[in-house]
Structure formats: structure tokens, C-alpha cells
């Protein structure tokens, strides 16, 4: 009989998560695996309870999209007790979780932060001052993307100064409002921008255009590789973005789970490719969504 895999996704109505979910489901159908899909709707507590639901339903495997590096560990431990293999999709968890999961597939948000730091350093020639427009405070992705960026700057001994980090909750309007204030406050001191995603980068671009019409934007680096970010790179409003494909993300997770269900050993870390897109390669890379 068909195996059932329990998929605890971040949300089912979200620009990135939705295509990832669709890809995962489609691939599962091809592989003959049944998916029980549960959406946390971005609430960690719901998610921890849903892992319990998966255990109670005696799923054959669990794919978890963690929204917190810690909170799922006890639930995952119980999954292990119940002999249900679990893997993580999209976001990593703390090291203690490694005992209870078979693998983590997906982009490395910390790595993305590092790549962003490299790309921005390159654009700014290693000096100047940046503002960081971060996602939700306390959110795992935010923590990884900001942490990787800051750590990498330190690592390479960069002279780039971080003027300010603001939280704009992955929201374009909030980023727009926050950027207006940042531009007023720092003005021409801003010689670079790092946004935790392309949506918020868009917010900064709009604020910049409002404040200094005609003046070129400072180099801006975003993450996700959205279609409109590609347009911005073409027009020179953005310097780069990092493509992380939700489709790859979803596919890789279910394929890995399929291998586990077949009794194969899998690697503890299976990254999806991250591509830094600048003007140089914008025409050759596919946007993520």
C-alpha cells in the first residue's frame, strides 16, 4: 500500500511556500506517496501540535518546515521514539535537533546571509555604510539571514559599517515606511542596502525614488529571486538577489523522504542550489517565482 508522509508546512498561502508545497505534492504523486498536508499558518505552537498529530496518525514519515530552531525538538524526539523518520525542509534547526532528524534539505538561510554579504561587499568595493532591512524579529529565517550577513562581514574583516537594522516583517509597505525614515535619517550616508527578501528591497527602492527622484539607488541586495527583482536588476535599481527556488526546495524534500522510505541512507545536509544573480547573469537564470 502507498506510504503516507505528513508534511507540516509553514503556510499554504504564501508567495514562497505555496509553490514549494505544490512542487512537493506533485512530485509525491509521481512517486506514489500520499501526502497529509498540515499548515502552521506561521504559528510555531500550531506547528508543534501538528507534529503530534502526525505521530498520532502513524504517518510513515514527517517533513517539517520549522519556524523556530528549538521548539519542535521534543515533538521530533517523540517521532523518533515512534520510529517515524523526520526531515526538515527549507529552514534549519538547532544542533540538538540533529539526533532526531534524518536530514535537512533546503536552502541555507545562514549561507544566504553570507552570500549577500559577499555580493554587497563586491558592489561597495569593501567600504561604506549599509542599512539592513530585516524580516520579523524572532523569526528563524530572519535570524539566519541577518546572522550570516553580519558574521561574514566580520569574517572578511570588511570595513563596511552597518548603520541600522530595522524589522519590516517581510512586508513591502512596512519596508517602504521604514526606508523613508532611514533615508531621511541617514541620507547620502547610505551606500548600500541589504534586505532580507526582495519584497522589502522593493520597499526601499520605492522610498528612494520618492525622496531622490532621478538619483541612482545605492547597491541593493535582496534574497529570493522574485521576478520583479530580476526586472530591478536589469534596470539597475538593484544590484543582486539570491535565487532560491521553492520548486527545488519542495522537490528535494519529498525525494529525500522517498529515499528514506526505501530504506536508503541520506546525507544529513542536502542543500538546494543558491544562485547569486547580478546584471551579469540575469538573462540566463530562471526567477524563483
Amino acid at each position: 500500500s502507498a506510504k503516507t508522509v505528513c508534511y507540516v508546512t509553514a503556510a499554504d498561502s504564501h508567495a514562497y511556500a505555496t509553490p514549494a508545497n505544490v512542487a512537493l505534492n506533485d512530485r509525491a504523486k509521481e512517486l506514489g506517496i500520499e501526502i497529509l498536508s498540515l499548515s502552521q499558518n506561521f504559528d510555531v505552537q500550531t506547528g508543534t501540535e501538528q507534529v503530534s498529530t502526525c505521530i498520532a496518525r502513524k504517518a510513515d514519515g514527517i517533513i517539517l518546515w520549522p519556524l523556530d530552531p528549538q521548539a519542535y525538538i521534543p515533538a521530533l524526539a517523540r517521532a523518533k521514539q515512534a520510529n517515524i523518520p523526520a526531515i526538515l525542509i527549507n529552514s534549519p534547526m538547532a544542533e540538538q535537533a540533529n539526533d532526531f532528524i534524518k536530514s535537512f534539505t533546503g536552502p541555507d538561510v545562514y549561507e544566504e546571509g553570507k552570500l549577500a554579504a559577499d555580493s554587497l561587499s563586491e558592489a561597495m568595493k569593501g567600504e561604506g555604510a549599509v542599512v539592513v532591512i530585516a524580516g520579523q524579529a524572532g523569526n528563524g529565517t530572519t535570524i539566519g539571514r541577518v546572522g550570516g550577513f553580519v558574521d561574514r562581514l566580520k569574517e572578511i574583516g570588511s570595513k563596511i559599517e552597518v548603520l541600522e537594522t530595522v524589522n519590516a516583517d517581510f512586508d513591502q509597505q512596512k519596508a517602504l515606511v521604514a526606508s523613508r525614515d532611514l533615508i531621511t535619517r541617514f541620507g547620502d550616508k547610505i551606500t548600500g542596502v541589504y534586505a532580507n527578501d526582495d519584497t522589502m528591497a522593493r520597499g526601499f527602492i520605492d522610498a528612494w525614488k520618492e525622496a531622490n527622484s532621478g538619483k541612482p539607488t545605492p547597491p541593493i541586495v535582496g534574497i529570493n529571486g522574485q521576478r520583479d527583482a530580476f526586472d530591478s536588476i536589469r534596470s539597475g535599481e538593484m544590484y543582486s538577489t539570491i535565487v532560491q527556488s521553492p520548486v527545488e526546495d519542495g522537490k528535494l524534500a519529498i525525494e529525500t523522504m522517498a529515499e528514506i522510505l526505501d530504506g536508503k541512507e541520506v546525507k544529513a545536509r542536502l542543500p538546494i542550489p543558491l544562485t547569486v544573480v547580478t546584471k551579469a547573469n540575469v538573462e540566463t537564470v530562471q526567477p524563483a517565482f
Binding site: S13, N167, D171, Q173, R180, L182, T184, R202, R227
Partner: protein, 332 residues
């Protein structure tokens, strides 16, 4: 006749009545103005960029979207409807539909349909609250959840992008240096003020909030008036959502999140009673300006985003407590 009039004159000594403490009345009315001036003064001293035209235009632009919602929310609070928690859903409705329908029917009809559908949500809210008599918090909470769910189902959770750049250019244009979106907001605020303070509908709104059964017994169509406040708010939120969509040229189901609380905060800080029967658009606007300026100063001073919530919370409690303390001393 003359006989009755004569009796009345002698019945009471008019000197026993005076108008209450004028001083306290003045503080209550001028308090917020003073607070706004204080913020401006502090901001100017603390940060050189604060007192610049550019910054004020920023503040004005940032407050426009929520400001339009505030105009509607004032009606809800004044009519005694406590709060409209379906605002995030109606904003999403406005933002998503005004973009999603653009390719099919053009930008202007798309905007109109979006606002109308948002208004329809308000109508259901209004019927539930005004005619069925359900607690507004529950009714709007329930409706908000339902509408947001439907909107999400409709767009399948993906971001909707704009396809008509001219509509974006329109909302981003300026009139005499004032951003279009702020012009629209100010026009709506003036209209709202006219309706609430000058027209019979506004008076009915205040009367219904002040004493529902007495208003009803005075031939005020109380159910319609109560329902109307929610329709007005939904239209305002839908309109504001539409503008938001055009500005951003993209919309997701959660664009409206948090606007309901921001709007209530502004109205309440403005001294509009959540119990109804008292309040005006200028008061709500003063509350909005104060909150926005304060947030602006905090951002300019580099206060961390989560900590801004702390200040905002203290501010709401403080403003309302002060207002209550003043009113206890007998001001209108």
C-alpha cells in the same frame, strides 16, 4: 401660557449652574496639541533631519494609508461599535482585487469593484451588528476570518502584481509637492469630518452611540446608523487597501495585518471614547499625527522596532488614563 412661563422663571435660581471647570476643559482639548508640539520640539532638538520638509512629507505619506482607515474607524467607535476587526480582510480585499482585476477590466473599474466588494463585507458586518445585534468584536472578527480565508483561496496564496504602471504613477504623483496619496487622504478626512460633525447622519451616529434606546425612541434609524458605521469603515479600508495595492504594485493576503490596531490606537489616543457617543475626526487625526510623529522620532533615534511597541503601548494607556482623569473633573 404666560402663567406657565412665569412659574418656570421663579422655580430655579440659574446662578446655581455654571459651566464646569474651564481650565480642565482647555487641557483636555489642547492636551494633544501640546503633546504634538512637545514631540516636534523634542524631535527637532534631538535630530537635525526631523524638522525638514522631506521628513514631514514622509510622515504624511506614511500616515495616509492608515489615516483613511482611521476616518472610518472613528465612526465605528463613536456609534458605540467598539472596533472593526475585519479591517485587515477588507484592506486585503481592496489591495488584491484592485490589482488582480486590472488586466481584465482596466485599473479604474478594478479599483471600483475592489472597494465595492470590501464595502459588501462591511454591509454583512453592519447587518450582523446593527440588525441581528451581535457584539461587534465577535461579528467583525468572524467576518474578517471568513473574508480573509476566501481572499486567500481566491488568489491561491501567491503575490498579485500590478499590470498597469500608469495607475502606479498616478498614486505616486505629487500636487504642489504634496504626494497624491496624502491629498486623497486629506480629502477623505475632510469629507469624514463633514459627515460626522455637520450632517444629520453624523448627529445620528453620535446620538446612537450616546444612548441607543433613546435614539431609537427619537425616530433615529438606529440599526441603519450602526450598520452604516461598519459600511463606512469597510469602504474606507477597501479604498485604503486599493491605494496600498497601487502604491506597492503588489499585494498578498496579509497586507492589511495590524492596520486595525493601528487605526484603533490613533482614534483612542485622540480621546475618542470606545464606549461611543463622543468623538470627532479632528480628534482622531490629532491622535494619528501624534502616534506617527512619535514613531518617526523613535525610528530616527534608532529605537529598535520591537521596543517601539513598548512605547506605543504605554502611550495608549497613558493617553486614555489622562483623558479619563480629566473628564472625571467634569469636562464635556
Amino acid at each position: 401660557m404666560t402663567d406657565i412661563a412665569a412659574m418656570g422663571q421663579t422655580t430655579k435660581d440659574a446662578a446655581r449652574f455654571s459651566q464646569g471647570s474651564r481650565m480642565v476643559g482647555l487641557i483636555s482639548r489642547a492636551g494633544l496639541t501640546l503633546a504634538i508640539l512637545a514631540v516636534i520640539l523634542y524631535g527637532s532638538l534631538a535630530n537635525p533631519v526631523f524638522f525638514t520638509a522631506g521628513n514631514f512629507v514622509n510622515v504624511l505619506m506614511s500616515m495616509s494609508i492608515v489615516g483613511i482607515v482611521v476616518v472610518g474607524m472613528t465612526f465605528v467607535l463613536v456609534v458605540g461599535g467598539m472596533a472593526d476587526l475585519s479591517v485587515p480582510a477588507t484592506i486585503a480585499c481592496g489591495a488584491i482585487l484592485s490589482l488582480a482585476l486590472q488586466p481584465y477590466i482596466g485599473p479604474v473599474p478594478a479599483f471600483a469593484v475592489a472597494v465595492l466588494l470590501a464595502g459588501l463585507t462591511g454591509l454583512v458586518n453592519g447587518v450582523l451588528v446593527g440588525y441581528v445585534g451581535i457584539n461587534p468584536i465577535i461579528a467583525t472578527l468572524g467576518m474578517g476570518t471568513i473574508v480573509l480565508g476566501i481572499v486567500q483561496a481566491a488568489v491561491g496564496g501567491v503575490i498579485v502584481y500590478g499590470t498597469d504602471p500608469s495607475s502606479a504613477d498616478f498614486v505616486k504623483s505629487r500636487i504642489l509637492g504634496v504626494p497624491m496619496i496624502a491629498v486623497i487622504f486629506i480629502a477623505i478626512a475632510i469629507l469624514g469630518n463633514f459627515v460626522l460633525s455637520r450632517t444629520f447622519w453624523g448627529r445620528w451616529t453620535i446620538a446612537t452611540g450616546g444612548n441607543y434606546s433613546a435614539a431609537q425612541a427619537s425616530a433615529v434609524p438606529v440599526r441603519a446608523v450602526r450598520a452604516g458605521a461598519f459600511v463606512i469603515t469597510a469602504f474606507a479600508a477597501g479604498f485604503s487597501g486599493g491605494l496600498l495595492g497601487l502604491t506597492l504594485q503588489s499585494a498578498r493576503p496579509l497586507v492589511g495585518q495590524g492596520y486595525e490596531f493601528s487605526a484603533i490606537t490613533a482614534v483612542v489616543v485622540g480621546g475618542v471614547s470606545i464606549m461611543g457617543g463622543f468623538g470627532s475626526i479632528p480628534r482622531a487625526m490629532a491622535g494619528l499625527v501624534f502616534v506617527q510623529l512619535l514613531t518617526n522620532v523613535m525610528v530616527l533615534q534608532g529605537v529598535r522596532t520591537p521596543i517601539q511597541g513598548f512605547v506605543l503601548g504605554l502611550l495608549i494607556a497613558g493617553a486614555v488614563a489622562l483623558d479619563i482623569a480629566l473628564r472625571k473633573r467634569g469636562v464635556a
